[in-house]
Symmetry: C2
Subunit: 435 residues, 2 copies
């Protein structure tokens, strides 16, 4: 049974706080194992990667077979139906169009003091994308990670995707080709992250690693952070739906299930201003669970972490939503735009009942890699900026240095950094000598 809460109940605050802090994921402590794997890859390079791939993926490779060849990719892609191919192409086109608008501007200006200031953005030189194998091998995630990198202008983009027992997903390879990925390696786990971060004889190192993975991958990303950049460490997926009674309870129930089916640790919450509507949605969830293909996953998720919260007003719903800071927020209300303006913390907002969250997972255009576990309070979904970095620029004229240099010298002296002050003073003295 999911939790049923009503904000007018006396014990609501305690129950809602418990909902917020419920631990949904036991992260196994794999750090020692991962440290050993990384060290092994750094020491033995290709051979370590090959040995670990034989051990974990039951796949015997040689170094020259680490990467998929173009012919292999062609062969796999030929298995994809024309309809699936067209759907992936449409998704890619829409994701690309959205992310192209994120490209930042370079700036340069000269201020009153005569100083020319600005900044310049550029892509990282190489990025690596982790793609899980097996059940959670999602071509949509390939598009969502690879397209922002290519829009950013990353000249070299490598994918690692494990192929346990040699099995690979042709749609993943097709998504990689559509997105413009340059290299695809059939490796996974901490050894793949280590190979991307430190490089091997066959796999040149990258500067940034993104993409989802299991506990081993997450621990490896944490460990190589600093040597390379990483994106966020994603937790289990979440959806919050705020819906008034003028919705079809079946639609809202399906939306809740579309998150619950991801993972037994996923969390689906409904906030409504009508208790009867809330009960109707919960009843529909139960009915739909009877026949849902992934009921063995969605059922436990809904029973253990699901919640239906009844509130007195939509304003109250917005305030509770900000405490949850949901990854995905659906606003199925009469004026979703107005309600969205009362929301401060959310990864992505889906406005109105015609915008089910699944649209955002695949084809809407915005990224589906989003902050989980309340981290929307301080972080954002994946974007083009994650694959770029900024260099700041400053150029003084002698006149500008005369105007602002003395204050810099004074502050340097106040911080007891004499050479800082002298580096300014030497130039000011020259200007004074020259009159």
């Amino acid at each position: 049974m999911p939790v049923f809460l009503n904000s007018s109940d006396a014990d609501f605050e305690a129950a809602f706080a418990a909902l917020l802090t419920a631990k949904r994921e036991d992260s196994p402590d794999v750090d020692a194992v991962v440290a050993q794997i990384i060290s092994d890859v750094r020491t033995r390079g290709d051979q370590a990667v090959l040995d670990l791939t034989a051990k974990f993926d039951r796949l015997d490779l040689t170094a020259d077979a680490l990467a998929f060849s173009a012919a292999e990719i062609d062969r796999e892609i030929s298995k994809v139906s024309a309809e699936d191919h067209a759907a992936l192409e449409l998704a890619a086109t829409r994701i690309r169009a959205y992310h192209e608008r994120q490209l930042p501007q370079d700036e340069s200006w000269t201020d009153d003091a005569g100083a020319t200031l600005g900044w310049r953005w550029g892509p990282v030189s190489a990025a690596g994308l982790y793609v899980p194998g097996g059940l959670a091998s999602y071509p949509s995630s390939v598009l969502m990670n690879a397209i922002p990198a290519k829009v950013a202008g990353v000249p070299r983009l490598a994918i690692v995707v494990p192929t346990p027992d040699g099995i690979c997903n042709p749609l993943v390879l097709l998504a990689a080709r559509i997105a413009g990925v340059d290299e695809i390696y059939r490796i996974g786990g901490a050894q793949a992250v280590a190979a991307l971060a430190y490089g091997t004889e066959t796999i040149p190192p990258v500067d940034k690693i993104t993409g989802p993975g299991n506990a081993f991958v997450a621990a490896a990303k944490r460990r190589v952070f600093g040597k390379v950049g990483i994106d966020m460490i994603a937790g289990p997926s979440e959806i919050l739906v705020i819906a008034d009674k003028d919705n079809d309870p079946d639609w809202i129930a399906t939306d809740l299930l579309s998150q619950a089916e991801h993972d037994e640790s996923a969390q689906s919450i409904l906030i409504t201003d009508d208790a009867d509507f809330g009960r109707a949605v919960a009843a529909s969830v139960d009915t739909q669970l009877e026949t849902l293909e992934r009921r063995a996953i969605a059922g436990p998720s809904w029973r253990d972490y699901g919640a239906v919260v009844t509130v007195g007003s939509l304003d109250e719903a917005a305030a509770l939503s900000d405490r949850i800071a949901p990854e995905h927020l659906e606003l199925c209300v009469a004026d979703p735009v107005a309600l969205s303006q009362k929301i401060t913390h959310a990864g992505a907002i889906f406005l109105g009942a015609w915008t089910p969250e699944a649209i955002g997972d695949y084809i809407g255009g915005p990224n589906h890699v989003l902050p989980t576990a309340r981290s929307a309070r301080f972080s954002s979904g994946l974007s083009v900026l994650d694959f770029m970095k900024r260099t700041t620029l400053a150029q003084m004229t002698p006149e500008a240095l005369k105007r602002i240099g003395p204050a810099a010298e004074r502050l340097a002296i106040s911080e007891s950094l004499q050479a800082h002050g002298l580096s300014v003073r030497a130039r000011l003295d020259r200007l004074n000598e020259e009159g």
Copy 2:
């Protein structure tokens, strides 16, 4: 003796590679101690913070004295000279003007399919800034961290600054007031980071923690990452100067020393296309070191990690610079703008001999919190964006859903996510029924 290299020497590649990988900092393994401190603060709140402050800072406080009062701040600030006050105000004004240009734009558009898409930026609700006490207590760093946060619109900005034996730096308090900081706590170390991340009875938690600190602070920031956002973990400072022979060797020597005086682990490198000029700079460094106030720091830094590299051309210098990916890059050449366009990786570039790096530390306008240890390959200096997060927005019309929904349904099915597909299908069926 610093290293002298010449790119035409047979062993140059090996020597340059050694320079790149030289380990300049032994990070003591303080993680176990820090884990214990964080756990203590989470369990015992204020009392843990008070006990640890008594232990490490030799300062007995009560909970109601954790924060500086307005009267205390007034009293400390009154000790600052008018000249220092004016210099800080000028710096703040210039830093604010630069960072205001970084404010990102919200976007919203309706595309061909009829989908309205966009995003919205907003500040984090609360940020905490770590300010070191003692020797490395720099008011300029207060401005560089606090002003971007306030430009971002952060409504609550707290500072933690240890005051060992009760000693505090009035300029730090003045910089905090000028920058608009809301709360100042006289605590430091891992206990201060834990208090900001988890909150205590007296100190409400924040969502983002930035600012430099020692090994304990760095380890604490790594540990609370995920619960809150953090900025980068900074390593020892670095400067690379590319200078031709038409420079005053004394100026360049002082610029190199202005980085070396920060820290025995700091690194200063000169690349020049004239070996005689390189020798003249090194000779001037030696001469200036005889009288430099911080020669006990700058001397070891220069001897252990300094380098003078002679190259055949400025193009070669640019290529080597990108391998270093320096935090600070000074281009003291005839056409610094042209040379800067050949540079891909650098935290901040200072263009021309009239722009010593120290200008950027204090008053130029760009941020002085910059990526170290080659991380300019994938990360950027601190900016307004570090204190903001982005929510993506999507709204379908029935017509838009008809056009793009079927592809989403197909991709969901291909990923075996049935409920995702059903959430789209239910709506498409309704539209079909309605004709």
